[in-house]
Symmetry: C2
Subunit: 215 residues, 2 copies
Amino acid sequence: MPKVTADITMSVDGFVAGPDQTLEEPLGAGGEQLHEWALRLAAWRRPHGLEGGEDDVDSELVEESLAASGAVVMGRRMFSGGAGPWSDDANANGWWGDDPPFGVPVFVLTHHERETLPMEGGTSFTFVTGGIESALEQARTAARGKDVLIAGGAQAAQQYLKAGLLDEIQLHVAPVLLGGGVRLFEGLGPDDAKLELEEVVESSVVTHLRYRVER
Amino acid sequence: MPKVTADITMSVDGFVAGPDQTLEEPLGAGGEQLHEWALRLAAWRRPHGLEGGEDDVDSELVEESLAASGAVVMGRRMFSGGAGPWSDDANANGWWGDDPPFGVPVFVLTHHERETLPMEGGTSFTFVTGGIESALEQARTAARGKDVLIAGGAQAAQQYLKAGLLDEIQLHVAPVLLGGGVRLFEGLGPDDAKLELEEVVESSVVTHLRYRVER
């Protein structure tokens, strides 16, 4: 049975983006530190057409996760950064470049209808205005029996958790205090999920915690 | 060089106590779940005069930590629960029983002067009204070259971190969403500490993350 996993990096004080998000600093003050663990990896650089980078336990985990996933769902901000509607948005084609690292269909939660954007390397961005259940259904179909990855941001993960649609949460805990910003678990509580710790993967720069969501 | 370590259990959404703390539920709604991992251990039950309990990677860690510590510092609420001044407080002697699990001098941060309470098993409670630096100085002296453990609560840990007096944070992350309550890192930010992940110990019920605090 394919799984639906929310896969997201969080600071040790619980934020997935820092305070004061702007177009220039879409991850907020200090937020870029969250993703340093991933950006240094060959597993990240290769699909971005960059050479070099590290191969270690972190990259194994990223590669396994990408290999298991047949489709991705993400929020609109994660697709494009910024806040405006598409037509006014300098990042209308997203900030993922021509050859995004997913290599599978990506479903973007949005309020604005738009044609599907085919990209290089097997990635496509399909814009879903019908809500999270519709996006998941489309992602499940597109995944053809593989897992669906909810790649963020916080709001998308919260909505799927609240709706009881997540099987797993894969948290990457970065050793950073952001002190403000977007909280991953904002508005959620004990009634929304029982978690069971499934796996811990340790690396020198981040801690990967996989929780099964009991329903 | 002996270390000063804050040792504290946090929910995955960042709380060290749940919402709505009362005398009956001093850890707030759901807060008792945070400590289930420790309460089931022989390492916890033995010093409380209870038989049985589990011996596993979690108890090893607790025993190592207690063995390395020559003195403990805690906030007043952690000592006694509740909110009133001593004389009105049903828990005036704390909720730790006659033979608290520490076995070393404990320094309690408080605004109310009070005679030192000697307990069984080597524990004593000394009440410090001179602030966190004074408490740490007394604890260091009492520890005779061993480590000092800051046992909580959140406010004590925050004050020591903010003052640059912590060498380490030992976080026990419980797989629980509390949804509200007392946040461990409330009011702290990137300027208060740079953290470096030092060790991860995995168990089936909790994740132990040890961070070195860079100053």
